[in-house]
């Protein structure tokens, strides 16, 4: 009796240890892949991108990849679909825009400030909306986002309303490679954050909420707290990318950063790429932005049609998105989250 329980213990410990070793290998593979990609992006402006336009496009590609990753931290991991990220992105843009144009802040102060202030805003946004479950949450986020847009529209004395305002001229004159590398830094930071969350105990709690919130609650998980933390992290990064966008755009109006279209686009990127994965939002952001840029250049009026078609086809044939489908297939190693 004693002997059998001893061998049982060592056998199961062996199985658990083998599983852990496998996940360690997966982690090493992911880190190697990520490092290679980062080096590739870092080398791009020197070796491949020929002119300012291309550097700009590459910068915006990284911005969408980063924003998609940030959105994924809350919506992909916990399953709470946010249609309000335009508000967080837009608020970040207004922190940098108003900070530099109206309050004479240095850009190097305004950018971190967009991260911190929008993080704080997201905390309250999350407290307010995350009690609402399922589809109602999505609608609530849309509502709160619209409220923020209207607020900025009407606070004309500060924000210039719908007319908008330009950013200081000296920001416009900075070499476009500077925002490129800062954006790359932001992208690396958000991807590392997302990957660390996904491979942590906290990440497992978030996934449990996505799978079955009541079940997670019954296992001692403080779901409300976990969701608000995820939302705050997601929002802080969204704010930062918004701040970067204001700088790159050089001109700020609600129309460019606060429309529901921004929320929708980032959601579609992640859904098509693969929710809850790390590469999904990156691939979705890259593919989708390149596609829409291509569509905009070749068929300006048809780009929305094209994007809509991609979404419909993806929903019909790949509910989990490209990488979600791949990772759920039997060819993919079990427990390897990439």
């Amino acid at each position: 009796m004693h002997m059998t329980s001893q061998t049982a213990r060592s056998r199961s410990k062996g199985a658990a240890a083998a599983y852990r070793n496998k996940t360690k290998t997966y982690r090493r593979v992911s880190i190697a892949l990520a490092a290679l990609t980062a080096v590739g992006f870092a080398a791009l402006p020197t070796f491949w991108l020929a002119n300012t336009y291309q550097v700009r496009v590459a910068t915006l590609v990284m911005m969408w990849m980063g924003l998609a990753t940030a959105w994924n931290i809350v919506s992909g991991f916990t399953g709470y679909i946010s249609f309000g990220h335009a508000a967080l992105f837009g608020s970040g843009a207004y922190v940098v825009g108003l900070g530099t144009a109206r309050y004479d802040l240095e850009l190097w102060v305004a950018l971190p400030l967009s991260f911190v202030l929008v993080g704080a805003l997201s905390f309250f946004f999350g407290l307010l909306t995350l009690r609402i479950k399922g589809h109602y949450f999505a609608i609530a986020t849309l509502g709160v986002a619209e409220a923020i847009r209207v607020l900025i529209n009407y606070a004309r004395s500060i924000t210039e309303g719908v007319v908008g305002f330009p950013l200081p001229i000296d920001l416009i004159l900075i070499d476009p490679k500077v925002p490129y590398y800062i954006m790359l830094g932001g992208l690396i930071a958000v991807v590392i954050t997302a990957a660390m969350i996904l491979s942590s105990d906290f990440g497992i709690r978030l996934l449990a909420i996505r799978e079955d919130e009541a079940g997670a609650e019954a296992l001692g998980i403080n779901t409300a707290r976990s969701k608000v933390i995820a939302f705050t992290i997601s929002g802080a990064f969204s704010g930062f990318f918004g701040g970067m966008f204001a700088w790159i755009l050089n001109f700020l109006s609600p129309e460019s950063v606060l429309t529901p279209f921004v929320s929708l686009q980032v959601a579609v990127m992640v859904i098509v790429g693969g929710m809850g994965t790390i590469v999904g939002p990156l691939a979705g952001g890259l593919g989708f932005y390149m596609l829409s840029e291509f569509a905009l250049v070749t068929a300006p009026r048809l780009n929305l049609l094209l994007l809509g078609s991609v979404l419909i086809v993806s929903m019909l044939f790949m509910r989990r998105g490209v990488f979600g489908t791949l990772m759920a297939s039997r060819f993919w190693p079990r427990g390897f989250r990439l």
Partner: protein
């Protein structure tokens, strides 16, 4: 006869849904180390009682004292952390997470102690080779076993099992009984809902019979089985009257 170290005491529990009284002035006592059965016809309020004890529903009246602490109306996650775990009638494993991740979600961390404590249980129910498998790919019986082990990973003292034996094959049923007996031998306590009189008699040392949300009868399995109120609860007053006429 019953061990006398009180672990769970439910008194005067009442819950209305609109005009319907789902649970009506219910009293339950579960002592440490016992396996107590909660039986009764469909709709008699058993699952509602579980929902209230585990914090998913708030009672209109009554108190729930667990391990000396009044946990009435605590949030679900706090009740779970206090050591009161439940399983569901329909299994609720996290389908797209691996078996290992399911266990980590319950245990709270990947710490070594999880494997130390949980390993033997996984071995006992033959799940140890499925750690990397998505839980949704397990059979229903295996999912029930995983749910149990997961509740153990949470560190539960008291398990509320809602029809653990419904819809699983005899092999899985055997594993489940072994697991319950094993956990009981390590000091765990159980309150379980089931319809299978044979199993309840085999497992439980004490039984509560509910009907219309109330305590209808209680006692050892033999006492409850012999009690005319049991037949009345399941088959109605006419049945009793019929037998008496013969």
């Amino acid at each position: 006869m019953r061990p006398d170290s009180l672990l769970l005491e439910v008194s005067g529990l009442t819950k209305h849904f609109g005009g319907v009284v789902a649970v009506d002035d219910l009293d339950l006592r579960v002592n440490r180390g016992e396996i107590v059965g909660l039986i009764g016809p469909n709709g008699s309020g058993k699952t509602t009682t579980f929902n209230i004890i585990s914090g998913a529903l708030r009672p209109d009246e009554g108190t729930i004292v667990f391990d000396g602490t009044d946990i009435t109306s605590w949030p679900t996650y706090r009740i779970a952390r206090a050591g009161l775990a439940r399983t569901f009638q329909l299994t609720r494993v996290f389908d797209e997470m691996t078996v290992y991740e399911n266990l980590v979600a319950a245990a709270g961390s990947r710490a070594e102690v999880v494997e130390e404590r949980i390993g033997p249980l996984l071995e006992l129910v033959r799940l140890e080779d499925h750690l990397a498998m998505p839980a949704g790919n397990l059979s229903i019986g295996q999912q029930k076993l995983l749910e149990m082990v997961r509740a153990a990973a949470l560190g539960a003292d008291l398990f509320l099992l809602d029809e653990p034996f419904a819809g699983i094959n005899p092999t899985m049923e055997r594993h489940l009984i072994d697991l319950i007996n094993h956990l009981q031998s390590e000091g765990s306590t159980f309150l379980l809902i089931d319809h299978e009189m044979q199993l309840v008699t085999e497992l439980c040392s004490y039984i509560y019979l509910m009907d219309f949300g109330r305590n209808f009868a209680e006692g050892t399995p033999e006492e409850v089985r012999e009690d005319p109120r049991t037949l009345e609860a399941y088959f109605g007053k006419g049945y009793i009257a019929g037998t008496r006429d013969q």
